[in-house]
Symmetry: C2
Subunit: 291 residues, 2 copies
């Protein structure tokens, strides 16, 4: 592994600052520059030695870097790329952490300058908290990272970005961007939508004495709705970016729910047991896997 | 507190055997009899000293008891009551652990012999595993127990059953049976239906290479679908017993989901953020409470 002379992290929040920490610890870059719009946050990141230098001027942030990692919210990644594109030096590698890939690839690929290589990535990492203060050196450790090159992506660049995320500690896997978006629509975006909708349903119900009924709940509701505490802006942006797949998956979920509902309506005991047994079986596949 | 001379537990599984254990430890009954249909299970419970005596003959099980607790699956409780009713002695108290109350009250109340008192209860306790071997002395400790007497229930009997569940270690609360069924339909039955439906949706999806896509999931899906591993027969019986409320709550959930879906379809960023923020707020109420 060759350390990058200088890397830039766009967005020094949970994902960006955690990445800076692990790159620092593993000496993946000689110098780490942070870009953001909040000067105070950048200053704190400098003081904590998370980054070597923080700047709110994108040209200063990227002009000398061999690697740029876009860690800003998914709704802003393409815009940040547009701003920095004219300032990237020849040979620079760019990757990102966006949770939705096809729209980013569609928007960014036409803007990539000659002699610069963009390799889209989605490290499957996160935490309940966000921001610099929640950042940890082991956020990415052992987790999966999906890399989604296109037919236009330089194979050597893919190899280097693949190696970079591996050096960070991740299990890297290559997928087509559209397939990525379908898969993570199903295993991540749909469950969030469902949890939000369930919380909105139950959260507004009251007892006859006008108490919130959630106060009477047992552990099951707490578990199933944990992800309903997720950041509304981030999930709004993800759902809108992955709109087509998310809508298709909501349709599929509505069908599965409709089947159960119909079996209850019709007192179809055998059918209902079968629906629930199937769910048991699928859940068994899920927990059989420790990824 | 006066110990019962003899108590009978109908159904020596997770709930029944755990109840026997705590009653033994706290000396709530001088003698504990277990009834079940599996003689081998009763024998093991006897050998482990969970019960003093096990029998598959319901008359033998209940004839001498001052307290009978129906711990069999919710779909069988009324039937067990019907079988034992002629053999109950005068002054006997009967309670149960069924998760749905109004249909049980409706079925059982007309069968209650003179001088016998039935006080419906729902201890909110359970575990991932079921059966005698999963039973623990502290299953009920600190959890909530809802007691749902009717206008016909003898007040002194209510007081004694209230005290009994408190002695077991539970926080006892009185609710109307119909309100209980609505509330637990919302905080427990609906979330289970949703988890089963979500698991059925995602569980059958494959990658282009015909791998199960659940293998690519992160932690969120595992959490939200934990309760999709729940017992299919138990949940079938609960959903059918609480049919009216469960169907109404599925409707409400479909509306909440429909609202989010529409906001995604219409690219309504402000509305979508609001939906998700509301869910955050409701979830905050839920976790603010440690019950």
């Amino acid at each position: 592994m060759n350390a990058f002379k200088q890397m830039t992290i766009i967005g020094v929040g949970l994902l960006g600052a955690s990445l800076a920490k692990v790159c620092r610890e593993r000496k993946l870059a000689e110098r780490i520059v942070g870009f953001g719009r909040n000067a105070e946050n950048l200053q704190r990141a400098e003081q904590q030695n998370v980054i070597d230098h923080g700047t709110t001027v994108i040209e200063d942030a990227v002009a000398e870097s061999d690697l740029v990692v876009l860690c800003s919210p998914v709704g802003t990644i393409a815009e940040r790329f547009r701003e920095m594109a004219p300032h990237l030096k020849a040979g620079c590698l760019v990757t990102d952490v966006g949770s939705v890939k096809a729209p980013l690839v569609r928007d960014i690929e036409p803007m990539v300058p000659d002699a610069v290589h963009y390799v889209p990535a989605h490290p499957i990492a996160g935490a309940e908290q966000s921001g610099l203060d929640a950042a940890t050196v082991d956020l990415y450790e052992g987790a999966r990272c999906i890399v989604t090159p296109t037919s236009q992506t330089n194979p050597q660049a893919v190899e280097r970005i693949h190696a970079f995320w591996q050096d960070v500690g991740m299990r890297v896997q290559v997928l087509d961007a559209a397939e990525h978006d379908f898969i993570y629509g199903a295993v991540s975006h749909l469950p969030h939508v469902v949890a939000f909708a369930l919380m909105n349903t139950v959260g507004q119900l009251k007892t006859r004495e006008q108490e919130d009924i959630v106060h009477l709940s047992a552990g099951g509701l707490r578990d199933i709705t944990r992800i309903a505490s997720s950041d509304p802006v981030m999930w709004r942006d993800i759902c809108l970016a992955n709109k087509t797949h998310v809508l298709d998956l909501i349709d599929r979920f509505q069908d599965a729910l409709g089947e159960i509902k119909q079996r209850i309506e019709q007192d179809d005991a055998a059918g209902l047991k079968e629906s629930f047994k199937n769910a048991n079986g699928h859940r068994g596949k899920l927990v059989g896997n420790n990824s």
